[in-house]
Symmetry: C2
Amino acid sequence: MKKKRISITDIANALQVTPSTVSRALNGGGKVSEKKRLEIISLAKKLGYRPNPIAKSLLANRTQTIGLILPEFTHHFYSRVLAGIESITSKAGYQLLICTSNENQNQEIKSTLTLLDARVDGILATISKMNDKFEHIQEVMDSGTPLVLVDRFSEEIETPYVISDDFKGAFSAVDYLCQIGCKNILHIKGPDNLSTTFNRFMGYKEALRKHNMPLKEELVLESSDPKLVEKIRLCLTRHQVDGAFTYSDYLAFEIYKLASQLKIQIPEELSVIGYADEPISTYISPTLSTVNQQPFEMGAMSARYLLNKINDPEVALEVKNLETKLMIRESCKVVETQS
Amino acid sequence: MKKKRISITDIANALQVTPSTVSRALNGGGKVSEKKRLEIISLAKKLGYRPNPIAKSLLANRTQTIGLILPEFTHHFYSRVLAGIESITSKAGYQLLICTSNENQNQEIKSTLTLLDARVDGILATISKMNDKFEHIQEVMDSGTPLVLVDRFSEEIETPYVISDDFKGAFSAVDYLCQIGCKNILHIKGPDNLSTTFNRFMGYKEALRKHNMPLKEELVLESSDPKLVEKIRLCLTRHQVDGAFTYSDYLAFEIYKLASQLKIQIPEELSVIGYADEPISTYISPTLSTVNQQPFEMGAMSARYLLNKINDPEVALEVKNLETKLMIRESCKVVETQS
DNA sequence: CTGTTAGCGCATTCAC
DNA sequence: GTGAATGCGCTAACAG
């Protein structure tokens, strides 16, 4: 059975004063005689008094709680985002209420309403992959609850964002492949419907353009394609692919597998760059070049942004783009530099 | 600015009844004339009324909230535990308040008090690596807040546990290595002070004993040893090691690296089994044999246990041991079966 | 300086 | 059936 906690009234009774006096003494605000204040404080400490935030919330209409909706927990990227968020919110004295959408919009909607019901002071969310309903987002905005969207962008939702600069990230990767002399660069796209997929593809195209290289349709594959493996094989055998840039590190590993089967040497014959900098990238052989998105910093930044928004609703509504870092490892061929 | 939500009183005023009546109509409990009940319900829906859980909490002394303390978020294992917990709590209508200790006991203590202050209905926690203070745990118990400890066990704390059967998990791995004919089996231990480290080591010893193999001190290394890499090298070159069982998958990858340097073939000359079944295990080459701890199930089980405890404080205090699964992959040599 | 009053939103007595 | 009263724990406005 949950034991009754000692309340302000308990210590008021014990000291023959009113709860108001106790409240004032404890909060320092009002004027209380030095003698009583000390008495009260010492008794409070002795009794292990801890204020009830529930009561305060009811009164103040603030809960000191941030709601968080993530598409999944298991992905390394999101756990880093979570860690970044927590590092900021805990320091700021906020609790973190956590939900997942499991990449399912219905669950996202449910989670959103749950958080709204819980009267969180603000919401951080990454929208799920399939998103065609926006009423729940509208409801958040209507309720006046500050909202910051993380990682994934949607044209339909006008709110603060903290996202990764996928365009530049992809551009830097493909630009690098071009620089080291790759002539036929394969790209495997991510899930449809995701801003990240689109932007990384755009970065790929732009880098090709910069180097005056044609965009070859047969070198652009879809990760959702059931025949993906076959098509990669075709690219590797028929189309003289000597470079690859994939939407994720795991897709890069698919290329590793096929290259190994086909006895194609990485990086000598094929340079590969993935995306996300999964920890596995440095353990696999050859170590994988990839694009680091600074997920921890992304989480921290979005939390800071949200807290600002909570404390000052006039804070500008902007899309913050986080720089990516190109991590070149063993999977890219080394070009002799003429010195 | 957070907009004022519509309350039970608002709809009472609109309908010329008292809040009591509205409350009864909405909760179904008391007797309300059918006409009024319908009126009230329809207006409530129209106005988008949602009960304020804060007010209910204050009244009921229950928050429908579970507190969770994890040593870290980033580790794959803990994110699976988290996912398992969430899958249960969300279905049961509980919120999840999340904290991390960062493997630091002071932060663990702080988080514990935060959760207690927040009046969570129960706490799930994995104690941090270094643990020598137990007052905060005692405080949880004194407060009457149900507590279930996950993954790591401590003799000092008497409370429900859900842990993995590390002994059997380790035993099954080393037993397998013996069965396929390994004669000199290296073990790399985990961090001191952890029940998991101890139990896996015990499992290692017991398997050796079963096969009448001597425990060789020089084949047991400490992961915290600054000279670990050198010592592994020594084992591999001098001590005819032909099998290895490590506290974690990542330690197994250290062996992979050294074996590659020393031109020792895995699994032909050296069979390796890790622990935890990190996703990376199936991507690395050769794919790593390992022990799966069912972290999702562990999370789910601990959440179920806690909910039971919350609903019935008389629930037995026990240590639930979760079965492990030995995952044999390419890193173990194949023995011809005589058929 | 300190006590009284009131109210945050709700559910639960107890009268009528 | 329904309203009035009470209180969960706390703070704030107002008296004194």
